[in-house]
C-alpha cells in the first residue's frame, strides 16, 4: 500500500526542483545572512541584537499584528455571510455569483491600490457623496482605514472559498433531520451549520492572516507613516539603507511569526484539518 502510494512520486519532482531552486535555497540564503556579520564573514547574532533593541521594530511589528488581525476579522465577517448566501444558491446561479467573488483577482494589487486612492481620498467618490448629504469628510486614506479596506478587498475570496467548501460539504439531510426533530433555524445554524463549518473558517482565517502578515503594496500606498508593516520595513532596509543583514533578520522573524500563527490555529478546535487531521 505504502509503496503504491509512492509509485507516482516522480510526478512531483519538477515542482519540488522548482521550489528548491527558487524558494528553499534563497530562503536558506536569507536565513544565513541573518546570522552572519555584515561582511558575510563570521557568524554573528548582531542582526538580531540590533533589531530587538530598536523601538522602530516593535512599533512596526505591533502595527503588522493589529492590521493583520483587523483585516482578517473584517474579511471573516464579510466573507461568512457571503459564503453562506452562495451555499444556498442553485449551482448555476452560484457559478455566476462566484465570478463576482473572483473579480478582485483580475487586477493587480498595485492597480487596485491606486484605484482606492481615487475612491477613498479627500475628494474621492465616497467623501464627495458624503458631502452631498452634508457629512464628512471621513479620513479614509493614508491611515489604517485605507489599509484595512484595501487588504480586505484582496483577501475576502481567500476566506470565502474554504468556508463555502465546508458549507457545501455538509449533507443537507443533517439540517432536514434537525428540522424534523423540531429545531428552529437559529438552533440549526448554531448547533449544526456553524460547528461543521469551523474547519473552513480556520483554514480561511489562517490563509488570510498569513497573507496579511506579508502585505506590502497596500500599506505602502494606502497607509500613513504609522501603518508601516514588517514587509515595508524589509523594503526600507534593502533599498534605503542597504542593510541586508537587518532586512534578512526581519524576514526570518516575519517567517517565524507566520509559522507560529499557523501552528497555533491548527491547535484550536476545528483547526486540525489544516495539518491534514480529521476533525469531523
Amino acid at each position: 500500500m505504502t509503496q503504491r502510494r509512492f509509485k507516482t512520486a516522480y510526478f512531483v519532482i519538477p515542482a519540488v526542483v522548482f521550489m528548491i531552486a527558487v524558494y528553499a535555497l534563497p530562503l536558506a540564503g536569507v536565513a544565513l545572512q541573518s546570522v552572519t556579520d555584515a561582511d558575510g564573514g563570521s557568524w554573528s547574532l548582531a542582526g538580531y541584537r540590533d533589531i530587538f533593541s530598536s523601538t522602530l521594530f516593535y512599533k512596526v511589528a505591533w502595527s503588522t499584528f493589529t492590521i493583520s488581525l483587523l483585516s482578517t476579522t473584517v474579511s471573516l465577517s464579510l466573507a461568512f455571510p457571503l459564503a453562506y448566501f452562495l451555499s444556498k444558491q442553485r449551482p448555476k446561479v452560484r457559478a455566476v455569483l462566484m465570478i463576482f467573488v473572483l473579480v478582485p483577482f483580475w487586477t493587480s494589487v498595485l492597480v487596485k491600490a491606486f484605484a482606492f486612492t481615487i475612491l477613498l481620498g479627500q475628494s474621492g467618490i465616497i467623501n464627495d457623496a458624503l458631502a452631498f448629504f452634508g457629512l464628512g469628510p471621513l479620513p479614509l486614506l493614508f491611515n489604517k482605514a485605507g489599509v484595512i479596506v484595501g487588504m480586505s478587498h484582496f483577501l475576502i475570496p481567500f476566506m470565502v472559498f474554504p468556508i463555502l467548501t465546508s458549507l457545501m460539504a455538509q449533507p443537507p439531510e443533517l439540517r432536514r433531520a434537525a428540522s424534523i426533530m423540531g429545531a428552529g433555524r437559529l438552533r440549526i445554524f448554531f448547533r449544526i451549520t456553524l460547528p461543521l463549518c469551523l474547519p473552513g473558517i480556520m483554514t480561511g482565517t489562517l490563509l488570510v492572516l498569513i497573507l496579511s502578515l506579508g502585505f506590502f503594496v497596500v500599506p505602502a500606498l494606502l497607509g500613513g507613516r504609522q501603518d508601516m508593516m514588517l514587509s515595508n520595513l524589509v523594503d526600507f532596509y534593502t533599498r534605503e539603507t542597504l542593510n541586508w543583514q537587518a532586512a534578512s533578520t526581519l524576514a526570518v522573524i516575519l517567517f517565524s511569526f507566520a509559522m507560529i500563527v499557523a501552528y497555533t490555529l491548527a491547535r484550536v478546535p476545528g483547526g486540525s484539518s489544516l495539518l491534514g487531521g480529521q476533525d469531523r
Binding site: S179, I180, M181
Partner: protein
C-alpha cells in the same frame, strides 16, 4: 385512532404528476410501508407527510390536526434517513439528547432518557463515541433511538436499511419490528425491497407511476393481487396470457384450456393474465381435479432451501417452478418432458 390522514394529496411538477391524488390513513401502532420501484411516488408521499415537500393539492392531517401548511419542525414527527443523518460533530449521547434539548427537558431527565433508549437499542456502551466510530448497523440503531427518545406521533423511515448488507439488513428488519411492536410506534416506512416490506409491515401500499396500485396486508398483496403489476412486484410469478373461454375457464396462447379463480365477472373473449406462483406448481401430476400442462425442462438451479426449474410450455411460454429441495428429488435434465400441475383455485385471473 387515526394518526395520519391524507385526503386527496397530490404533487405535480408542471405537467408531470409525481403523485396522483391519494387517500390514506395510518392508525395508531400500525406499521405501514410504502413499497414501489424508484420514481413510483413513495418518497414524494413520505416527504409530503414530513413537510419537506408541499403538496399541490389535498390535505395532510396528523393527530387530528390539519398540518398541510405547518412546517416540518412543528409537525412533531420523527424521521430516520438512509444516510442516518447523525450529527458528525456530536457524540452519540449529544445526538440523542439533541431533540430533547429542543424540547427544553431538564438536564437530568435528558441523561436518564438517553441512557434508557441506548439500553433499548442494545448499545449502552457507545454514548461517548462519535457516529463515524460506529458500524452502519449501529448508526442506524442510533438514528432510530434519536427518534424513539422524544416519542413522536409517527416515525417516518426512508429506505433506512438501503446502505446495509443483506445479512445485517435482515437482522435490522427484525430489530426495528421488535421495537415498533414493543413500543407501539406508528411507522410509515419507505422501501423498494418487497421482501423487507413483507417481513415488517402490517399493511403495504404498493405504489406505481405516482399512485397507489393496491393497499393491503402482505398476505392480501401476495395471494390476492388485483393487477399483474402487483403480482409481478410482490414475490415471484408466472403471468400467462390468456383469453376467457367460458365461466371459470380460460384458453392459454397454446390452446390449452385451464380452470381459474376470479373475483370480477369475466366476459367471453376478454384478454386476461393468469397468475401462477412458482411454488404452487408441481413437477408431477397431482389429483384434486388439478389442471395440467405439458412442458420441457430448460434448466434447474438449487438456491439452498428451494430448487428452481425453468420450463418452457408447449407453445414457447417460459414458466418458473419452485420446489422445496430435499436432496433426493432427482434433478430433471434439460430437455426432459414433464407435466406440471396445480390445485384448482391456485390460478388467479388478473386484468391484462
Amino acid at each position: 385512532m387515526v394518526k395520519v390522514q391524507l385526503n386527496d394529496v397530490e404533487k405535480r411538477y408542471g405537467p408531470t404528476v409525481a403523485l396522483a391524488p391519494t387517500n390514506l390513513s395510518v392508525t395508531e401502532g400500525e406499521f405501514l410501508t410504502l413499497l414501489g420501484p424508484s420514481g413510483s411516488g413513495k418518497t414524494t408521499l413520505l416527504n409530503i407527510v414530513s413537510g419537506m415537500t408541499e403538496p399541490t393539492g389535498g390535505e395532510v392531517w396528523i393527530d387530528g390536526v390539519d398540518v398541510t401548511n405547518v412546517p416540518s419542525a412543528k409537525r412533531g414527527l420523527g424521521m430516520v434517513f438512509q444516510s442516518y443523518a447523525l450529527m458528525p460533530h456530536m457524540t452519540i449521547f449529544q445526538n440523542i439528547a439533541f431533540p430533547l434539548q429542543i424540547r427544553g427537558l431538564p438536564r437530568e431527565e435528558i441523561r436518564r432518557k438517553v441512557e434508557d433508549v441506548l439500553e433499548l437499542v442494545q448499545l449502552p456502551h457507545v454514548a461517548g463515541r462519535k457516529p463515524k466510530e460506529l458500524s452502519g448497523g449501529q448508526q442506524q440503531r442510533i438514528a432510530l433511538a434519536r427518534c424513539i427518545v422524544y416519542d413522536p406521533s409517527i416515525i417516518l423511515m426512508d429506505e433506512p436499511l438501503g446502505a446495509l448488507d443483506k445479512k445485517l439488513r435482515e437482522q435490522m428488519q427484525l430489530e426495528i419490528k421488535r421495537l415498533q411492536v414493543q413500543l407501539g410506534i406508528t411507522m410509515l416506512y419507505v422501501t423498494h425491497d418487497q421482501e423487507e416490506a413483507m417481513t415488517m409491515s402490517d399493511r403495504i401500499i404498493l405504489m406505481n407511476n405516482g399512485s397507489a396500485e393496491q393497499i393491503g396486508t402482505p398476505n392480501e398483496l401476495y395471494f390476492q393481487p388485483n393487477s399483474s403489476f402487483v403480482a409481478d412486484f410482490i414475490g415471484q410469478s408466472n403471468l400467462l396470457d390468456a383469453t376467457v373461454a367460458g365461466e371459470d375457464r380460460v384458453r392459454l396462447v397454446n390452446g390449452e384450456i385451464i380452470t381459474v379463480r376470479h373475483d370480477a365477472p369475466l366476459s367471453h373473449g376478454q384478454s386476461v393474465k393468469v397468475l401462477l406462483r412458482p411454488e404452487v406448481l408441481h413437477l408431477r401430476e397431482i389429483d384434486a381435479g388439478g389442471n395440467r400442462l405439458d412442458a420441457t425442462i430448460r434448466g434447474s438451479v438449487i438456491s439452498g432451501s428451494t430448487v428452481k426449474h425453468f420450463l418452457e410450455l408447449d407453445g414457447g411460454t417460459s414458466v418458473l417452478v419452485e420446489e422445496l429441495s430435499n436432496g433426493t428429488n432427482a434433478a430433471p435434465a434439460p430437455g426432459d418432458r414433464v407435466t406440471i400441475s396445480w390445485s384448482v383455485g391456485q390460478a388467479r385471473v388478473l386484468p391484462a
